[in-house]
């Protein structure tokens, strides 16, 4: 792989890594929200039962 090819690959890789990191952050947040919804459901069940 030439130096030029490496820089082109790096430029494209940077964009993909950024999108993947972003998806990782969003999926972590989604997992937290899912956990919180579960806690709220349990709380409602306790209040009713």
């Amino acid at each position: 792989m030439s130096v030029e090819e490496k820089y082109v690959a790096a430029a494209y890789l940077v964009v993909f890594v950024a999108v993947l990191v972003y998806l990782l952050i969003i999926s972590t947040k989604l997992a937290r929200l899912e956990r919180e919804v579960g806690e709220l459901v349990e709380r409602v069940k306790e209040q009713r039962g």
Binding site: S2, V3, E4, E5, Y7, V8, A10, A11, Y12, V14, V15, A18, V19, Y22, I26, K29, L30, L33, E36, V37, L40, R43, V44, Q47
Partner: protein, 227 residues
């Protein structure tokens, strides 16, 4: 209409995935390698990413205006998310531009280039938006201050865009002049597909982040109601 709104995020995500794949295929298998060599391929991601960053900041400023002017509910959150997306694309512009500059000019960064410095100023200006926003308690005051700041920043967008055209001496390439795009038809088509891909990606990430933030806020409300 409801179905359209409900399916907007998956549709945008699918469209972004398809368009990015098509753009990459066109960049490497359709667009010719010009006299600048293989490094010119960075152009097809770097410039659309930069224009998409401008779109993010511009959309954030538009939502800020709607918040101040019409008091539109949710416009403050939409403005914040759009500026956040603009920052992500702005950071990618600086990174891809730096890599291109290194291979093309032999430098990671050139302080003598107005286009580079003005883009950095725009990026830092909007980075400071988050410092302002999170230094004020949530509420009407924070929303108003953030909106005014977002609107001030939008002035920098045309200055940043026009800088290269106003400069007397530069080495940053100009792809678009008053005579039109300075590239072949296949290169221009590839550029357009790439830009459409980036704009769709921005729209998908914007709606994804917005959905997460709205869900977070609703859950907080629910928790307070149940407390």
């Amino acid at each position: 209409m409801d179905t359209l709104n409900r399916n907007r995020l998956p549709a945008l995500a699918a469209a972004a995935g398809i368009l990015v794949a098509v753009a990459i295929a066109m960049i490497f298998f359709y667009a010719p390698v010009d006299q600048d060599g293989l490094n010119q391929k960075i152009f097809y991601f770097h410039v659309p990413v930069a224009l998409t960053a401008y779109a993010g900041f511009g959309w954030g400023a538009w939502k800020a205006l709607l918040h101040l002017w019409k008091g539109k509910p949710g416009a403050d959150l939409e403005s914040y998310v759009a500026i956040h997306q603009g920052i992500i694309f702005g950071a990618l512009t600086l990174l891809t531009g730096s890599l291109w500059a290194r291979v093309r000019w032999g430098h990671w960064w050139l302080w003598s280039e107005d286009q580079l410095v003005l883009f950095l100023v725009l990026f830092l200006f909007y980075s400071a938006y988050f410092m302002l926003r999170f230094s004020v308690e949530p509420g009407r005051m924070r929303a108003n201050l953030s909106a005014v700041y977002a609107l001030f920043g939008v002035v920098l967008i045309p200055i940043s865009f026009a800088a290269i055209r106003l400069a007397k001496e530069y080495i940053h390439p100009i792809a678009f002049t008053s005579e039109g795009p300075q590239m072949s038809g296949s290169q221009f088509l590839t550029f357009c597909v790439s830009w459409a891909a980036m704009l769709t990606l921005l729209a998908a990430l914007y709606h994804l982040e917005l959905a997460g933030k709205r869900l977070d806020a609703r859950l907080r409300e629910l928790r307070e109601l149940l407390a």
